[in-house]
């Protein structure tokens, strides 16, 4: 085997794609040819460097939130299929959700299924962040969350409900931040409506199938999509009022996230 042949086969040799006999021929040549040895070493170094560059690049790294959400989706997808029910059948799925969440869940008008762990995170965040202030992880500002996790959160810094005056009372923004519940990060806008707290929770999740409305143990959740985000309005107000609040919030949230 000559230098020219070795150079031609060098990459296949490094990728271990050659027949055993050819590999032996190359090894024999390399033991006698410093120039080809240097060339092979140089190519090997380039490959190692390239692999390392990919692994170290912060731009190419997935966020922990995304990896956690992928795991959740696999489990949700599985539970929606394992009992042989249609993913689009909302009422039967809620029966499963109820058994999983140990809550009674009643759909009122929803047609699509909201993954149980997403529903759990939405309800849990409203209860534990907006109402009880007892999250494991301290909320951070939307600006900080935009920098660290999801740039689109910055668009929600100035979002306000429109109209702010609903048929039975005013809708006031109390706080905006980003918080995590059960591994899922939300942009959280806390509102006050007739003395009660209302949560607007926004999370990136293009695959989540959101029901327009549902009720769990007296807490109502009204949902809508805003591009690649799923958004939820959680309140203890009546069905009609929750719908009204969602309508006041949906427009501004959708336009803030348009193109994000």
């Amino acid at each position: 085997m000559e230098c020219r042949d070795v150079r031609e086969l060098a990459d296949s040799f490094l990728s271990e794609q050659l027949l055993v006999e050819t590999t032996h021929d190359i090894l024999r040549h390399l033991s006698q040819c410093p120039s080809c040895r240097a060339e092979i070493d140089s190519r090997r170094r380039l490959r190692t460097a390239l692999r390392g560059a990919f692994e170290r690049s912060p731009e190419l790294r997935a966020t922990p939130e995304f990896l956690a959400s992928v795991g959740r989706q696999v489990r949700e997808h599985h539970s929606s299929r394992s009992v042989g029910m249609s993913r689009w059948s909302f009422r039967p799925m809620m029966a499963i959700a109820a058994s999983l969440l140990l809550v009674s869940a009643v759909a009122f008008g929803g047609r699509e299924w909201l993954g149980t762990s997403l529903l759990h995170a939405v309800l849990g965040d409203h209860q534990n962040c907006a109402i009880r202030f007892r999250l494991n992880e301290k909320p951070i500002s939307l600006e900080e969350a935009a920098q660290r996790f999801e740039p689109a959160y910055r668009s929600l810094v100035a979002v306000a409900p429109s109209p702010a005056r609903l048929s039975n009372g005013d809708l006031t923004v109390l706080e905006r931040h980003s918080c995590v519940y059960d591994g899922r990060r939300f942009a959280h806008i806390v509102l006050r409506y007739r003395g009660a707290l209302v949560s607007v929770l926004v999370t990136p999740d293009r695959l989540a199938r959101v029901p327009s409305e549902l009720a769990v143990d007296g807490t109502r959740v009204s949902s809508f999509r805003a591009g690649r985000f799923a958004a939820f309005v959680v309140s203890s107000a009546s069905e009609r009022e929750t719908r009204e609040i969602a309508a006041a919030v949906a427009g501004p949230v959708k336009s803030a996230l348009a193109g994000a």
């Binding site: 390239l50 692999r51 790294r61 696999v74 997808h77 990136p204 293009r206 690649r228």
Partner: protein
């Protein structure tokens, strides 16, 4: 019957979580490299994993699960690009490039991650793809051929030409930096 189905399904999910999910971060790196957009990359990986889960019965245990996932990712990506009209049929420039890259330049001694990734970005997509699948994902030529749905010979020729182009680009980059370092224009 229902319990049996559920148990089977539980097992499939458990195996999928053990075999496929650990590759999610590397799949994301690849998707991010290809899409250059975080939201698109996340979508692509999600859809890939959902499709992989649905067709997990077609995966042969003990084979390269990452290569299997990469194949699905490329199919999903091709379908999405086709649907959005972004799948442009590029003329095969292999011949033209072959005639212009006969000289294989030496690989510069000192290379930063940024130099390498920037140089890789400058070469045509079809060469980037095979280099990434081979050198970063450590897939065999056969697996790359299957994933990209191209003949084995094309994989080899693209790798050869792609690497030559990459080396030329790295040398060019080093020369440019040398000029700047010595105050030359």
């Amino acid at each position: 019957m229902l319990i049996k189905r559920r148990n089977d399904s539980e097992r499939v999910r458990a195996v999928f979580e053990a075999e496929a999910l650990p590759h999610a971060d590397r799949l994301f790196r690849l998707a991010m490299w290809l899409e250059r957009d975080r939201a698109e990359a996340e979508d692509l990986v999600q859809e890939t994993l959902m499709q992989a889960l649905q067709s997990f019965d077609r995966y042969t245990p003990g084979t390269n699960c990452r290569a299997w996932l990469v194949t699905i990712l490329h199919h999903v990506r091709s379908n999405r690009r086709r649907a959005s009209g972004r799948l442009a049929l590029v003329p095969d420039v292999d011949d033209r490039i072959a005639s212009t890259t006969a000289f294989v330049p030496p690989i510069p001694e000192k290379l930063t991650d940024e130099d390498l990734l920037a140089a890789l970005r400058t070469i045509p997509d079809q060469y980037q793809q095979v280099i990434v699948l081979c050198d970063v994902e450590e897939m065999t030529y056969k697996e790359i051929s299957h994933a990209l749905d191209i003949p084995l010979g094309t994989v080899m020729s693209r790798l050869h030409r792609g690497r030559t182009l990459l080396r030329a680009q790295l040398t060019h980059g080093e020369q440019q930096r040398g000029r700047t370092h010595h105050g030359m224009p």
